[in-house]
Symmetry: C2
Subunit: 353 residues, 2 copies
DNA sequence: CTGTTAGCGCCTTCAC
DNA sequence: GTGAAGGCGCTAACAG
């Protein structure tokens, strides 16, 4: 039945005894073709083992691929490990599926071939997961001139941006973390793509090229100053990612130091969960000996009673997709809110809640 | 600088004063072009705002898209929620990134347009996440004649299959679950795409069209019979998915019944975690009052001390990708092993471990 | 309802 | 190192 070579629409049309267009219509606008012609075409297709119109040829002709590209920063595994990133992807997928679009994941490895792989992806638009100011992929995406939306940051001229106001949210949650504390500390996402772990004074921090990290640090600084601290007094531990295990290790180090913190604002709920584990191990009562805050309001935050910043990454993913598809423009800043639970001190006195 | 219309290689070549082929070589085989010609081309491209070779045209001409399609069953959100599925995707992504391939996620919604969306995806091959015998997407994938690998099942003529021996593994873990028990029960994945929750006798189960579910049920049956039970005596609760919350609800119902089970074999670790939560709520000691087993050896299994079936979904994802890329063929059955922890009774007497 | 024409943008082939 | 021709497989646009 099937020939070994690729079967084309022209061959099907010939065998069916109709023109190529009739065969094409049979697949694309079946209602426009007579029953008779249609069945002849389908029968011929069956006989030849025709696989259906070739997607690449169709894309070329139509000028659209019906696919959106999603650029995920280095370490795809970590992206999938992060419940926030996963929710974001689910939001994109929902919109894509609803509009008949596919969704191409473009994993970035850090190797030089990232750029051609992104540029060469057959997609109608891009969604870029938070990255650093200096990520070469940003320029590559812009160079394609296809619609592109960046989530989180950085803001790039000509590309859309969907994000919460990280600085404001960090300031708000930071106040909850630091209120009533004497030695505030921060558990930070990496500052730059090198992703090294460090512990040090806030004043000694090198410039952060991840805008999301940078803005949250600024917000925590606002919070520290608002609650009576100098930025220099704040200890900042930098993690390589939003991961409980590493956070636990760093938190254990902090808590075991000569001058342990009594408040830790973390940039992610997974990190905060690690901090709670370290606190338990150290015999530290939360929130009395140690206040802890997270970020994202993931499932773990509710389970552990974490005070955190709530935002819907899923919804933001959906918005990114809509913007990339041109269904929506100029999204105002995404919504966020504070979720106050038992991991922070009550500002009106102990046990006030 | 940039014109509003799409810029083509021919226009770049013309402005650069070279032939189209020289321009093409500049992008694809830079070494083959003189420095002079190359810089003229790149300058012209810059001036015109040329976005680089069009991916669809290139795919058509080359006959390959450099992308793999991954078909994820209904409810993409759930897929991302399932740590096993996520590990599987990470394994695929790893191989894809390493070979310069993209990875297109094809979410299945259950709507009739699933088939054209899958068929029409510009991909070189497919990886299909476990589905039911009657899923129309299977036929569609096969009809494309592109390489395709199914994970888990069903086995389809002409398509590759990567899976563990579910029946054997279920029999093995089932023996651990049921040993020393008097009223064995099973917490099952859905039987068919309808995904309804039910509780009933094993003998009354309708035919399962999800082969993975079916084979695991058969294995548990083997285990039940091997440990002295008739299949009719086994209670089976069917969940809509591998999710802790739903499992907890069903387990609570089981444990609150007139004749509560004292052993529950679950098809997933998340489900098993839900069972443990229900047991705790019901004041049921594990494993003495209730033995519990899971499946996958996810992170939660280690944390909760669950006896479970270990398999590397990540590795299986990688294998699927390699097979789909034609780098590997006829994969033998994937490896699995038993991980015995504290959620099951010791076969040599209490506390033997 | 069916057919003809004319490319979509690029790259393989083969010549120079 | 460079170029001319031709066509990958399909469908928009326009007849009839």
């Amino acid at each position: 039945m099937a020939s070994s070579k690729r079967v084309t629409l022209a061959q099907v049309a010939e065998l069916a005894g109709v023109s190529v267009m009739t065969a094409s219509y049979t697949y694309n606008q079946p209602g426009r073709v007579s029953d008779q012609a249609r069945s002849k075409v389908l029968e011929a297709a069956e006989r030849l083992g025709y696989a259906g119109p070739d997607p690449s040829a169709r894309s070329l002709r139509r000028g659209s691929t019906q696919t959106l590209g999603v650029v995920l920063g280095e370490h795809l595994t970590y992206a999938f490990d992060d419940p926030g990133a996963v929710a974001f992807l689910a939001g994109i997928a929902e919109v894509c599926a609803g509009r008949g679009y596919g969704m191409t994941i473009l994993p970035i490895t850090g190797a030089p071939d990232d750029v051609p792989r992104v540029t060469g992806a057959a997609v109608d638009g891009f969604i870029v997961w938070t990255t650093s100011d200096d990520d070469p992929v940003l320029a590559a995406v812009r160079a394609t001139k296809r619609p592109a939306v960046i989530h989180g940051g950085p803001a790039v001229r000509g590309l859309e941006l969907v994000t919460v106001d990280n600085r404001a949210a960090a300031a708000a949650v930071g106040v909850l973390a630091f209120a009533g504390a004497r030695r505030p500390a921060i558990l930070s996402f990496p500052l730059s793509r090198e992703r090294v772990s460090t512990i040090g004074r806030a004043a000694d921090l090198p410039h952060a090229t991840f805008p999301v990290t940078r803005e949250r640090l600024q917000g925590y600084r606002d919070a520290a100053e608002r609650t009576g601290f100098a930025w220099d007094d704040v200890v900042v531990a930098v993690c390589a990612r939003n991961d409980a295990a590493e956070a636990e290790r760093l938190a254990a180090t902090l808590l075991g130091s000569a001058d342990p913190p009594d408040a830790i604002a973390a940039m992610g709920d997974q990190q905060a969960a690690g901090v709670l584990a370290a606190a338990r191990a150290a015999g530290c009562a939360v929130p009395d000996d140690l206040a802890v805050t997270g970020w994202d309001d993931a499932e773990v935050a509710a389970r552990l009673g974490l005070t955190t910043v709530a935002q819907s990454l899923r919804e933001q993913g959906a918005v990114c997709a809509q913007v990339a598809l041109g269904q929506q423009t100029s999204p105002r800043a995404a919504r966020w809110s504070l979720v106050r639970r038992s991991s922070t001190r009550s500002s009106t006195g102990r046990g006030a809640r």
